[in-house]
């Protein structure tokens, strides 16, 4: 019975009393290593097996109704972490629970609680947005007539008019397709929403529309949101807390203000650092210490010098 209390179709109040204290997401020492498959054919030998530590001993606790951002350079493991949370990848070690349910053992229950938007809008390209979204809605146990209403309303709010809804998706621009992908996730009103670069490729106004939606999902549906982004202003505007991940490890975690203060302290600045400085600081190939700053004169100069040294090494 306990499982069924969590169904998203139930009024949220029934689960609130039981879940109040519980974490929405609990990631404990999770590691994921990818191995490049060994070549099959003799003439492909030579490319030796290679491993990538995509997620390395990551621990993270996300509270209910929190919006948490994950920042990091390309290939730092953000999408891999999100895939683990969405039951698409099984971690090598460690444990992830979502509202107390293990993503590997209880994957069937976890899937009812989550939805995910990925950076590439994945659809049946010949089908229309309506056909694609109705399909998705039915999989999430939403009846057709209700889904149709919601689809028109959500897409309308994202600026996709009724005329486009019946046209094949392949005729739409990349940004419009991305909006349909976002609508797909909002449609099912998930308790935990995983957004992997949801606004990449959207115009500034649409970005704001999506941000408003994300906030609304939290206010109205008590949703918890985990998002990755390369847009630092977006992270700043939207996130209660931000985690910075570098080479699969979380190197910083805190509210935007906390991170700015911390970097200000480490860099010896007079005013809080900008988000840009925070990002550069934590993802630099060599962590820039106070000593470096003294030696080179300023953080920027130290950064340039150390980056130049790294390039020479390579």
């Amino acid at each position: 019975m306990a499982m069924q209390r969590l169904l998203p179709t139930l009024p949220t109040s029934t689960m609130a009393d039981h879940q109040e204290e519980q974490d929405a997401v609990l990631v404990e020492e999770v590691t994921k290593v990818f191995t490049k498959s060994r070549p099959w054919l003799p003439w492909q030998k030579g490319e030796d097996a290679r491993t990538v530590r995509a997620v390395d001993q990551v621990s993270l606790r996300v509270k209910r109704r929190e919006i948490i951002g994950i920042l990091g350079s390309n290939g730092s493991g953000k999408s891999t972490l999100i895939r683990i949370l969405s039951t698409l990848l099984i971690p090598d070690s460690g444990r992830v629970t979502i509202f107390g349910y293990d993503v590997v053992r209880d994957e069937a229950i976890v899937r009812r609680l989550i939805n995910r938007v990925s950076v590439e809008a994945s659809f049946f390209k010949k089908l229309s947005p309506m056909e694609n979204l109705i399909y998705a809605a039915r999989l999430y146990n939403l009846p057709g007539h209700l889904a149709r209403e919601r689809i028109v309303s959500i897409l309308g709010r994202l600026g996709i008019g009724a005329a486009r809804i019946k046209q094949p998706l392949e005729d739409m621009s990349r940004g419009m397709q991305q909006k349909v992908a976002i609508a797909r996730a909002f449609l099912t009103a998930p308790v935990l929403l995983l957004l992997d670069e949801p606004t990449t490729g959207l115009d500034p106004r649409s970005k704001l529309d999506v941000q408003t939606f994300v906030r609304e999902l939290r206010e109205v549906h008590d949703a918890t949101i985990l998002l990755t982004t390369h847009d630092l202003a977006e992270a700043e505007a939207l996130c209660d807390r931000v985690a910075i991940i570098d080479q699969g490890r979380i190197v910083a975690l805190g509210s935007v203000d906390e991170l700015k203060q911390e970097v200000m302290r480490q860099l010896g600045l007079n005013v809080p650092a900008s988000m840009h400085q925070v990002f550069m600081h934590y993802t630099a190939s060599h962590r820039i210490t106070e000593e470096d700053i003294l030696r080179y004169g300023s953080w920027e100069k130290a950064f340039e010098a150390l980056e130049a040294m790294r390039e020479e090494e390579e």
């Binding site: 099984i90 995910r116 994945s122 049946f124 399909y135 094949p168």
Partner: protein, 280 residues
């Protein structure tokens, strides 16, 4: 709550059916090309039968009608088998192609529901496709169907479909595990079935080492049974039909659970090694 779960299952099954129907409609040109291709193929094979007397120069009167029937049944069953089989392997193939696989695998439905929805469509699609082909072929040749027992024929076709689905799910594992090469591999499975199942000839002409393969292929029994039903009008309860029915029940009972189980293992493996992702 039980009821709600059932409604959800029904809705999801319908979702796959509806989606595949929409895809068929949008790719209608491809559908027509494929139908034409199958019809032309079936025609050219059947003409071999019509020309048998001339090709062999046989002096005695040849039973052309039997040969035609053997070939027409062969081409029809083959069409049905390949359309259904492709429909089932499309559980993975098409989703890989479109890049939607992660979304379907993340949806809150059991893999079994997913398969039932896709397979129901595959069977319906296969039946319709084959019926159209059969009507066209029938217009070209004078075939004597006065002995046919259609009830037996339909029964065997549907019973055989269960095993085709089992084999199809088994073949769908290949594109799940091998991102690029898997699709070609599932074609090979189909080609081997064509070779060993006696689609155009009795399996007795196959070399001895191929005979066991013929005996585990469900298509062999569907073809044998259909020929007995349509050419000799055998009823359902006759020993000839029963000798095809029980192997089909057996292959169905074994192949469906076995391949669903193997599929679940493959899915776990894919999730462990990151093979669900489209690129790399």
């Amino acid at each position: 709550m039980m009821f709600n779960a059932l409604v959800h299952r029904g809705r999801a099954t319908y979702a796959f059916f509806e989606r595949n129907w929409n895809l068929t409609r949008r790719y209608w040109a491809w559908e027509i090309v494929w139908l034409l291709y199958n019809i032309v193929n079936a025609l050219s094979v059947t003409f071999i039968g019509a020309a048998a007397e001339q090709i062999t120069g046989a002096k005695v009167k040849f039973d052309t009608n039997s040969l035609l029937l053997v070939l027409v049944i062969g081409t029809s069953v083959w069409s049905y088998l390949s359309v259904t089989f492709d429909g089932v392997t499309d559980i993975i193939n098409m989703e890989r192609w479109e890049g939607t696989i992660e979304y379907t695998f993340m949806a809150p439905i059991s893999r079994f529901t997913h398969m039932v929805g896709s397979c129901l469509y595959a069977v319906a699609h296969g039946l319709l496709f084959t019926l159209i082909q059969l009507l066209v072929i029938a217009a070209f040749f004078h075939i004597d169907l006065s002995h046919a027992n259609y009830l037996t024929a339909l029964f065997l076709l549907l019973l055989g479909s269960i095993s085709f689905i089992g084999f199809g799910i088994g073949a769908a594992i290949l594109p799940l595990l091998y991102t690029e090469k898997g699709m070609q591999m599932s074609f090979i499975v189909k080609a081997v079935l064509l070779l060993v199942s006696g689609v155009y000839y009795p399996i007795s002409v196959l070399p001895g080492w191929m005979q066991p393969l013929a005996r585990i292929s469900p298509a062999t029994y569907v073809l044998e049974g259909l020929r007995a039903a349509i050419m000799q009008g055998r009823p359902l309860w006759s020993p000839e039909i029963w000798s095809c029915t029980w192997p089909l029940i057996l292959t169905g009972l074994i192949s469906v659970p076995a391949s669903v189980y193997a599929f679940s293992l493959a899915e776990r493996y894919a999730k462990r090694t990151g093979k669900l992702k489209r690129n790399g």
